[in-house]
């Protein structure tokens, strides 16, 4: 069995309309992968930055996977939410990125998008917030049925991921 360690942080996010943000995240893998230790999903704290546009979470990630195959390489997926001063939450973006497949430190900017409703819904969203959400979060990291969606671009999630691989070379895998 080959082993993969993912050690790093969800640093924060920027480029969204408002900056009081938090993020729900998760890691999705194929059937050949087994999580040996670490939490594969979570929710960050809400950061309201004092200055500037970027919200910082510094959310640690420390995952240890064992795998029998390359299929279903881990993918990190995110939902960025905005929380206002009254505690109400509004979706600001969905995004995903593959976990890097080469060992070492990686700095990743993950782009996000948000479903766009009809023009009436957009108008209402401007005044009272809210907006359409995905019924099932699988669509964040899968391509099936994406063609049904109309979305708008939102900000980026910044990550720093360190990858340690073990025994992949014994199986002839080059990375």
């Amino acid at each position: 069995m080959a082993e993969l360690h993912i050690i790093g942080q969800i640093i924060g996010a920027g480029g969204f309309p408002q900056n009081s943000l938090f993020c729900k995240w998760g890691v999705h893998t194929g059937g050949a992968w087994r999580l040996l230790s670490g939490l594969k999903e979570g929710q960050t704290q809400v950061d309201i930055p004092q200055t500037g546009d970027m919200a910082y979470w510094s959310h640690p990630i420390d995952l240890h996977y064992a795998t029998k195959g390359l299929q279903g390489w881990p993918k990190l997926h995110f939902q960025v939410w905005h929380q206002d001063s009254f505690g109400r939450c509004q979706l600001y973006g969905y995004g995903y990125c593959h976990v890097p497949s080469s060992p070492g430190h990686h700095r990743i900017s993950c782009v996000t998008w948000r479903p766009l409703g009809s023009w009436q819904e957009q108008l209402a969203q401007m005044f009272v917030g809210g907006g359409p959400q995905l019924r099932s979060p699988d669509l964040i990291y899968s391509g099936a049925d994406r063609y049904r969606l109309h979305t708008e671009a939102m900000g980026t999630v910044e990550l720093e991921l360190g990858i340690i691989m073990r025994h992949f070379d014994k199986y002839g895998v080059e990375s």
Binding site: I7, Q45, D53, M54, P60, G104, G162
Partner: protein, 212 residues
């Protein structure tokens, strides 16, 4: 005589570095406490696990620079990369009444490739949830604080916390590892470039001093 090839069961991570300083636009006269947090497969073999810096204030030249130049020299051993050590820093300073209050908590993983690395750690404070609490805490000089700063190194339980990020601490590391490759782990190429790990989004126009 021929040196016997060893079959190591542990690998070592040697950390030499310094807490260079900080960038906090709104605060001055700060000191920093640090400690290491690691998983149960890890143990420190030499050096200090925690410490406190001196109190520093902004120089006359650049109004945002706070310098500590505080040494970090610690070595860890482990059998497993899980629980890789993190450096947890917490910065404290005086408030209007002279009480010591926390100005930021932050954490970063120790880099694992040999070589030189710089990390710019965003620092945040827990926010009181109610406006009345904000006012009384300002009046009495008591901010919400974590009972144990080490919680900053964990991901669980963060869903209910509101924080405010308000500064950065810059740390530089020189990393040496021993026997990580012999145990079968590939940690990637040694570091070549020295790139800061977080961009500080201050729009004041003044460059945070440690960007290259």
């Amino acid at each position: 005589a021929v040196m016997a090839t060893s079959n190591p069961s542990v690998f070592l991570l040697s950390v030499n570095g310094q807490i260079e300083g900080a960038n906090f636009p709104e605060y001055d006269n700060l000191y920093c406490k640090y400690c290491f947090v690691y998983g149960h497969d890890w143990a420190p073999t030499s050096g200090l696990e925690e410490g406190i810096t001196q109190i520093t204030c902004k120089g006359s030249e650049s109004s945002h620079k706070l310098i500590w130049n505080f040494p970090l020299e610690t070595t860890f051993k482990s059998t497993n990369p899980s629980g890789w050590p993190q450096l947890v820093v917490s910065v404290y300073g005086p408030d209007v009444f002279g009480n010591d209050v926390v100005r930021g908590y932050g954490a970063t993983h120790i880099p694992f490739t040999p070589g030189q690395h710089t990390r710019t750690i965003p620092m945040f404070v827990p926010e009181p949830t109610w406006r009345l609490q904000k006012f009384t805490s300002w009046l009495l000089g008591r901010r919400p604080e974590y009972t144990d700063p080490k919680v900053v190194a964990q991901g669980e339980g963060r869903e209910v916390t509101r924080v405010r990020s308000q500064g950065f601490v810059t740390v530089s590391f020189h990393i040496i590892t021993k026997d990580i490759k012999k145990l079968g782990y590939d940690t990637g190429p040694s570091s070549l470039a020295n790139t800061p790990s977080a961009t500080s989004g201050w729009s004041t126009g003044e460059q945070p001093y440690n960007m290259e």
